[in-house]
Symmetry: C2
Subunit: 355 residues, 2 copies
């Protein structure tokens, strides 16, 4: 009467909630017909100034993609209509029609109520708060539309492309903002209202009383995010205006910038150490535009996390920089669609059997 | 072809991994025969000096229980043999036999590798580290034996008995040690090696350099745990030797003790605030022997968490003291068995259908 742990794990992985289904790794059961080339998915990664769109197969492999400059403050109607048109061009170019489209996954820069696909404040731009993103996109493409925040889809993309064998991964985006995407038991952990991973406004220990845009002081991103580093560099006579400038300067061998990044890494590391104790991940991945700065930042994170955590939690822990880069967002967004499709087809079969 | 979110959730809840299955709330599907009175489960809660054992039905309702004084340092063979004998007495008294026993759930005071049921250091007592708890117990009772740490089973027990409708709950045990049990998406989050929730050795922000038993300084439980409070009270001329003394003193109206508890609550609150931002729970439950001190402690936690977190994460967040008290541990341990039994029976049926 008692099934093995392995059977429980195998089946439960195939039947996870929509958009959260685990990659199963193995072959689907014999009666479960699934052809990954039969249909295509679309992944969309929206940032403050970019809109990346990719067409993938149902393995999550990118077939074609388009990168556009987008002004997110133009509001959801303008931005999403443009994305919908881009999707049409990608489908046309691939010789695919609307009937081949399994769904559309979209990442937006801010918290999202995953079940409704509606963004929530903060820090989403005005006009987006509460907007029915799936409803609007379905006016153009009548398929399942799944929406999540940009850090979650980056975590999903990095998991699928670079670390598919791991069960527990913490992805930390370090850019102008700082946030985390949590993969726990192969699933994205979203929390009660989709706000999980919102580390940017955690109090940075030992931090100066810097005022944050949220109205509080000493928030992690006010102390160790891109703007804070630019402010420090400017004060030290090193001109930098963007995160790209910071990355270029450190690659050019500027020691002041390397020191600032290392210190930011230490500050982020103090918060990550608490996250490691709480979540016990196998891997911490540092991503986002400042992760491109390489070792200075991640060395600071490592220094504090390994110094501050118990041996049990860090004995096998690795802390690395993200590898999937530009594509992590679109692949993660498309992965939501792939997992939704797998789970939905499986559940339909279950219901047919038990009905 | 596309199943609804509700169907995905309903089925996935029934088919979660062993020991992590969600309480489904609703009626099982029509073809799933399950009679909660047909068999019984045993829940065991082991502490440094106590061994509580309960017999429950497969709803997790306690049928009978026994509380014994146990010396955990006597080692696993002595302690588990004694527990096995107690289980026999409870079964006899209830007129049940070994064939009625669905399984045994055991909570131990320290991290556990859940898949093997082997405790891990720290802080488990010598002799327990790596000991095959399920293997030894099965020499007496040849049934599934599930082992987890005491904080996780308290979280599970509190969830099942007091907050069964919630999906995301953070349970924080405040006693001599400090630790957390995370219910996320109705499942216990255990992490890569079963060390998730290990908050006791997180660096307490703004904390003095107090040496901790782990060898580090400024750890949360070295600053705000029972021993730290007793040390402060002794220095202030208020004699207290145990956590029970602290609770009795504050109930007697001692203001020095109330202030010490409030400050401990604030310190714990700084770490809990980070946990709230990371996990976005619906509810934080403060349990453990010092939670019996009532409002002083939890008021300190609330003060900092509400002051330090973003409105999105705390808008609907409640912070309360545990209500299930003494029974949370044994009920949580028995709940592991109930969930395992439900999941195993369901999976066997799935395999039979798809084979």
């Amino acid at each position: 009467m008692t099934a093995s742990f392995e059977n429980l794990r195998r089946l439960s992985g195939l039947l996870a909630p929509s958009g959260e289904a685990a990659s199963t790794g193995g072959r689907p059961p014999a009666r479960f017909a699934f052809n990954p080339q039969a249909r295509v998915a679309v992944g969309v990664d929206l940032g403050a100034t970019h809109g990346n769109v990719a067409l993938t197969d149902l393995h999550g492999r990118v077939l074609s993609e388009a990168a556009e400059r987008v002004d997110i403050t133009a509001g959801p109607v303008v931005v999403l209509d443009r994305v919908a048109a881009t999707i049409g061009r990608l489908l046309d170019a691939a010789g695919r029609g609307a009937g081949d489209l399994a769904g559309i996954g979209i990442g937006v820069p801010g918290p999202v109520e995953h079940s409704s696909g509606r963004p929530r404040r903060p820090p989403i731009m005005p006009g987006w708060d509460g907007f029915d993103v799936p409803g609007h996109v379905r006016r153009h493409w009548d398929v399942p539309v799944l929406v999540d925040n940009d850090v979650n889809i980056m975590a999903l993309g990095e998991h699928v492309t670079a670390h598919p064998g791991l069960d527990h991964l913490l992805f930390v985006k370090v850019a102008t903002g700082i946030g985390a995407g949590i993969i726990s038991g192969r699933r994205l952990l979203r929390g009660a209202v989709g706000a999980a991973g919102d580390l940017g406004h955690v109090a940075a220990p030992h931090a100066p009383d810097v005022l944050c845009a949220c109205g509080n002081t000493g928030c992690l991103e006010a102390v160790a995010g891109g703007r804070a580093i630019i402010r420090q560099l400017t004060a030290a006579g090193v001109p930098a205006a963007t995160n790209s400038d910071i990355v270029a300067l450190v690659h050019g061998g500027n020691l002041v910038v390397a020191q600032a990044l290392r210190q930011a890494g230490r500050t982020i590391g103090e918060v990550v150490a608490t996250c490691v104790s709480l979540l016990n991940p196998e891997l911490v991945v540092i991503g986002g535009s400042l992760a491109g700065a390489g070792e200075s930042l991640v060395a600071g994170v490592r220094e504090v996390v390994y110094g501050r955590s118990l041996p049990l939690a860090t004995g096998h822990l690795q802390i690395v920089t993200a590898t999937s880069g530009f594509q992590a967002g679109v692949i993660g967004a498309a992965t939501m669609v792939v997992q939704h499709t797998l789970a939905a087809e499986r559940v339909d079969r279950e219901l047919a059997n038990s009905g």
